[in-house]
Subunit: 438 residues, 2 copies
Amino acid sequence: MPKKAQPSVPSGPASAPAPATSTAPALSRRRLLGAASAAGATGLALGGTTGALAHAATSDAPPTALSSVGTGRVAFRGTHQCGITTPLQAHGRLVAFDLAPTAGRAEAAALLRRWSDAAERLMDAVGTDSPADGPASGIALDAGPCSLTVTFGFGRSLFARTGLTDRMPDALRPLPRFTADALDPDRSDGDLWVQIGADDPLVTLHALRVLRAEAGEAARPRWEMAGFNRTPGATARPMTPRNLMGQVDGTNNPRPADDDFADRIFVPRGGEPDWMAGGSYAVVRRIRMLLDDWDGTPLQEQEQVIGRRKSDGAPLSGGPDASEDTAVDLEARDSSGRPAIAADAHVRVAAPETNGGAAMLRRPFSYHDGLREDGAPDAGLLFVAWQADPLTGFVPVQRKLDSGDALSRFLRHEASGLFAVPGGPATGEYVGQRLLEG
Amino acid sequence: MPKKAQPSVPSGPASAPAPATSTAPALSRRRLLGAASAAGATGLALGGTTGALAHAATSDAPPTALSSVGTGRVAFRGTHQCGITTPLQAHGRLVAFDLAPTAGRAEAAALLRRWSDAAERLMDAVGTDSPADGPASGIALDAGPCSLTVTFGFGRSLFARTGLTDRMPDALRPLPRFTADALDPDRSDGDLWVQIGADDPLVTLHALRVLRAEAGEAARPRWEMAGFNRTPGATARPMTPRNLMGQVDGTNNPRPADDDFADRIFVPRGGEPDWMAGGSYAVVRRIRMLLDDWDGTPLQEQEQVIGRRKSDGAPLSGGPDASEDTAVDLEARDSSGRPAIAADAHVRVAAPETNGGAAMLRRPFSYHDGLREDGAPDAGLLFVAWQADPLTGFVPVQRKLDSGDALSRFLRHEASGLFAVPGGPATGEYVGQRLLEG
């Protein structure tokens, strides 16, 4: 799989620079940017791996030192917010807040300013946050930033609450109902959404505690979810992550090196509405997996459901010599003349070719919250998908999956949110300022 | 803090060899054992850190490679079970099972044999577990063992279920009720207890799924809890872990190098009952922390509650130059003549000197399961404490803490279990064979 380790992969369209990931301060600025570009591209080419791992794969130097896990640092400011093209971290916390009944646009603006200040400070040096500094309880003391990212989004309900319905994006129209949905409203939607990611769980929790304290009386948490991915260094080389079904997940993600990457993922400068320039839309779904049913399904049947081999993610259309990077051939037939990729296989139903080119950047975390009352595992995927417009991303894909995907009988969509994630803040700006003070 | 990084720390009493932690197969057997001994000792000297970090601290070689996180491997067989003196891993799953109503001694014996076989196989090479091999769904494919440990314990209720009440240890008598207890019986106790630890969350979950499948109809999960510690490499050097109050936690843990370590932690050969030789007793408590109250408490008051500085864990009796390793001086007075360590400070009330020498090896995981219905975080400590007898370990300490500890007003004990953890299995044996077939 040579393209996974190519240091020459460009960092993406010039119009869409990813926030830098660094292992500062040990590296020179130049080395740092080089590593950041390669890491960003590789991470996405893999459908997301941890920054440190991606970095290791793009270096001729000796094996990456363990200590680079802590020193990974992502820039808060830039054309886009962090946490979208940032290589996927090992821990994530997704939280929605609702504004207090008495709060309006002024309170929302002040909150976003406080949150932006806090996020920038934490992402730069979370471990030096003084325990005397107000709300911080010191749980991240001694730790490096661990590639912490904090990403802020706005739900549809925010606009009425702040008197800004005339500036609400069309793209925030409610998602259609899908037949597989069994959504819990208490764990769906929300005025404000915060995505926290880092390679250390105490770092994500420290950020969560600080942001919650900064919310003060202006907003209260509506729901909160925790997820994870592989620990940096758990595999011998960078790998596309596996989900809790054991399936390699993310192989076909758009890559920053793709010509149309920015067009698919980010709202262009001059797009509608103007305050969303450089922004993206996040579809968040809590998708429970019926793991007992899945684990009881024979391997060959599991592979037919997906259309890929379990062991390495190679498409079933590619024969025994195929690898994960082999292109899916939807026309291929097996030795008995049947389609190698079944009519209802997940990769066929989800393929851009069968969806008018619809694409999104999936950047999920797995979750496993113990046992449900029925004794089954409360486990699955905190699905987070990024796109310039859900109508050319999540919606058409999910519509097709909803009606014809063999995988859907093993899945339950239990919560859903759609959030407008503004572009990254310029120096002196806070996230969303162009909306809230525009 | 020189003693933290001394490679010359012995591996503990000869009578109590810790299971080996290795980064095999890259290292020679000799190098491997040296690293294992030092890592084990250092991990405990720190009150537990990850194996990989402890290893890094004891080596003259260049910084530990990130890939050593995955290759960490712990031995399943030995004098003691793994997961007691093993350096604390980044992820943990605690699960209790109850035998099926129709199951008795024969079914319990068969289950422990299946579980022991599975645990040994997983700890050796979890990532090569074939997805075609029955229950495994392949979520750990590609991963190294990541220092996986699986530890089995027996609850009091098992003995009646298996007709073995005459062989039940006195040490398994029910714990006394403490005034701070608000225990949920559905999340307490259980016939069988399994502690799973590893540096990767998908590895712990794979082990959990396999063990659950191996239980078949013989036992069903009673409760399940998930916890975490720092990710390997999140701090620049090995550190005593912090809990979710931000406090350095574990400084005063017994250390394998202590002369009385084995006496305090393990049942001796020739002890009672005979089948517990080399075993230990695990007290498991789910201790919720009232983090909103704690975070609202001024730093200086937090430090008085504990008796140590938040920043570095130094005792308040030691003055500004003290470090974490400075001995607590319970007699010291501050400049105004008051005790430097308050009468109700946690370190005073918990100190062995004030408890007739009672001691236990604490090896906890933090947990943070989102929001409770009252809006407070459902977060705290999955407290796991190891001792040769709870009556000279947890019980006297908790009795004192219960009545006089300033920290107790920030804690709620919500679940409790006490489990007899037999010695490690010899070649060909399964865990508990000396009880179940003795």
